[in-house]
């Protein structure tokens, strides 16, 4: 359990709420390769297919042999901090508002020099360091030089903490607390130091195992929220929207039907109503207020988390209609990211494999426990990620999807998992 962060002072309501500024967000298409990897928590650099030279910064042709066959490859980031400086002046508003900055040049063992933010826990140059990729508030990849061993905790560096969405001292809305997953997320966020958690409850007349126990949690409050009802979403957004720092959308309607195994569209429509339209309703009501409070430091609106499914990437035909609803939600989350991004509010998508819940009773293991999925939510917030694939199944599907989406489609249509 993390040490309870110093509770931030309440804001002075007489002072103007500041508007968000962002670090420079423009990248060339090739440089976005760095961002694509960082979004999944990986440091990747281009490597020349012909001569093996590692490249930095990202480029079109090899710096050594001019080959254009450059491929992105995972790097261990080990190297030496050659020199460092403290930036005390900046023209960019974002940096100017946050001076000073510790930056340095690292000679990676892979053979290139990179410019990186230097973590407060890294020693003074010259020393051994490990470079990691992170996403800045603009959602673009930046490099962080931390201690050589272990992954640096960005939250420990007051400056770099902004690259995380650390739930400590945050006020968080978990949209559905009735599912096992929702309950696990609530508990995990509580343990991670959340200041306050609102827990959405739909259909209060239906008892859900474990739900009543949430009432005993400190700092938690159950609120009515049914994402299939626009009025319900609007009312809650009106009531608490201006206080929410992080929204975690745990609403999920998972029915386990193929196209042929369920006559009619009512069940599919319910899935769509919760998984897709529910997200849309939440986005329309909550996103504007989150954006407005994106720079309301120190407890600003900072993140939106969607619990999607690995089925969003490629349809799993035995759960065909559910997969389609999650694919729709995934697509919408990209639009949401585009809308929240300019304010610096991060949209984090989780793509878990099958979760070991009541509806997936007949699914073969391995299945992700709700607690493991909840841990992944917290880790994603504490880290600097956009796309999270928790569990072996999710990582395996992702690898197969990235390698050859058509092959994965065929494999899944044969019932392979």
């Amino acid at each position: 359990m993390p040490e309870p962060a110093k509770r931030p002072k309440r804001k002075n309501p007489v002072l103007r709420t500041r508007q968000p500024t962002l670090p420079p967000a423009s990248r060339s298409r090739v440089a976005l390769g760095l961002t694509a990897a960082a979004a999944r928590g990986r440091l990747e650099l281009q490597v020349c297919h012909d001569c093996g030279a590692v490249q930095y910064p990202p480029r079109e042709v090899c710096r050594a042999c001019l080959s254009h066959r450059l491929v992105w490859r995972l790097q261990d980031g080990c190297g030496e901090l050659l020199t460092e400086t403290v930036l005390r002046n900046a023209q960019e508003l974002f940096f100017r508002e946050r001076l000073p900055w510790r930056v340095g040049i690292v000679r990676l063992d892979a053979g290139v020099n990179v410019i990186a933010f230097v973590h407060t826990n890294a020693g003074a140059a010259p020393c051994r360091v490990r470079v990691d990729a992170a996403l800045d508030r603009a959602g673009q990849a930046v490099l962080i030089a931390g201690p050589e061993h272990g992954r640096p905790d960005l939250s420990e560096d007051p400056k770099l903490r902004e690259m995380t969405c650390d739930p400590r001292s945050r006020k968080i809305l978990v949209t559905d607390g009735k599912s096992a997953l929702g309950q696990a997320v609530v508990r995990a966020l509580g343990q991670a130091g959340a200041e306050h958690i609102w827990i959405g409850e739909a259909e209060p007349w239906k008892m859900a195992p474990g739900f009543e126990a949430l009432r005993e949690l400190p700092k938690a409050m159950i609120v009515p929220l049914d994402v299939t009802d626009g009025n319900s979403v609007r009312e809650l957004a009106g009531e608490i929207g201006g206080k929410v720092d992080i929204l975690v959308n745990t609403c999920d309607c998972h029915r386990t039907f193929s196209i042929a195994s369920r006559r009619g569209i009512e069940t599919a429509q319910l899935e769509m109503d919760v998984n897709y339209f529910g997200l849309l309703r939440l986005a329309q009501e909550f996103a504007p207020v989150l954006k407005a409070r994106a720079a309301d430091e120190p407890t600003n609106a900072i993140a939106w988390v969607n619990l999607l499914s690995i089925f969003a990437l490629s349809n799993y035909p035995p759960h065909g209609t559910y997969s389609a609803s999650k694919a729709a939600a995934f697509s919408l989350s990209q639009a949401l990211r585009a809308e929240l991004g300019p304010a610096g509010v991060r949209v984090i998508n989780l793509f878990p494999g099958p979760i070991d819940d009541e509806w997936d009773q007949l699914g073969q293991p391995p299945k992700l426990s709700p607690a493991a999925a909840a841990t992944a939510v917290v880790e994603a917030l504490e880290g600097s990620l956009e796309d999270v694939y928790p569990g072996d199944v999710a990582r395996d599907w992702l690898a197969r999807h990235l390698d050859n989406p058509k092959a994965l489609e065929r494999e899944l249509s044969e019932g392979a998992q």
């Binding site: 626009g230 319900s232 009619g264 009512e266 319910l270």
Partner: protein, 276 residues
């Protein structure tokens, strides 16, 4: 549809002229609204989640004097046929599927206005959520108010509609729903010996909450609809009706092959009569 079925005896139409004359002669009338407000918060029927689900009432704005329609306000609404204060047609139940004129679009017009017999079970239902209306209760009521006239609605007053908290209204626990309703013998009596028009309740079903365990399951649905009778559910203000003498207007939407619909249920009550 076979000729035999067509010839089957249906519920007698109300002698509207006689009833209206009596109402007019009573020295004035008052109107009572027996309808709950349709809203997203009104609880829908709960079925096991793996079964097909009735959609709750939902309302999405089309425009409200804005860029989507500058001078007008309107909504799209969606709901299951059996939502809020609603009417059950015989085709709703498997026992009524082969009845003549069993769907909303074919119901005889004359059934939409009918006298009501209101049986006050509010004390009993207040004491026991699983209270069942029996033939004994019917006999006692008839002793006081006279025999139930063929073609009447029988409305079971429980004051359940006063439970404004949806959780208390649904009254679910781990053994299911606990709401009052008629027992199988009572339903058989009303159908076979009284030839009523239908049965109405203040709860979400015409059957008791635990009626899945009765023999037959859901007797009110089974026998009533099997005999071409109707159901009214989620009524309110039954405490403002006299035991007899009220005239109920209950005309569901005219939906092709419809099994039921929300509707506005009104009662015309002779001003001279008290409430129950």
């Amino acid at each position: 549809m076979t000729a035999a079925k067509k010839a089957e005896v249906t519920t007698p139409a109300t002698d509207l002229r006689a009833i209206l004359s009596a109402v007019m002669a009573s020295g004035g009338i008052r109107l009572v609204d027996l309808t709950q407000t349709l809203s997203p918060d009104f609880p829908p029927i709960v079925l096991p989640p793996e079964m097909g689900q009735s959609r709750p009432f939902r309302m999405e704005e089309i425009s409200r004097y804005d860029d989507r329609g500058p001078a007008w306000y309107w909504n799209n609404v969606s709901f299951g046929e059996h939502t809020g204060t609603h009417f059950d047609a015989p085709i709703h139940w498997i026992s009524g599927r082969d009845r003549p004129n069993n769907s909303l679009d074919t119901l005889p017009l004359e059934h939409f206005i009918a006298p009501a017999c209101v049986i006050d079970c509010s004390t009993e239902a207040g004491a026991d959520a699983d209270f069942l209306l029996t033939t004994g209760h019917i006999a006692a009521w008839e002793k006081q108010h006279g025999r139930i006239v063929a073609g009447s609605w029988v409305l079971m007053r429980t004051d359940w509609s006063k439970r404004t908290d949806p959780v208390a209204y649904q009254n679910l626990d781990e053994t299911g729903q606990h709401t009052p309703g008629p027992d199988p013998d009572c339903v058989r009596l009303l159908v076979k010996e009284r030839d009523v028009l239908g049965f109405g309740t203040e709860t979400i079903g015409t059957d008791a909450g635990q009626a899945a365990h009765f023999a037959p399951p859901y007797p009110c649905h089974y026998y009533m609809h099997g005999a071409g009778k109707y159901g009214l559910q989620c009524l309110c203000n039954l405490d403002r009706l006299p035991a007899t003498g009220a005239l109920v207007i209950a005309a569901p939407l005219k939906i092709l092959d419809g099994s039921g619909s929300p509707l506005r249920v009104l009662a015309i009550v002779p001003a001279s009569s008290g409430s129950g």
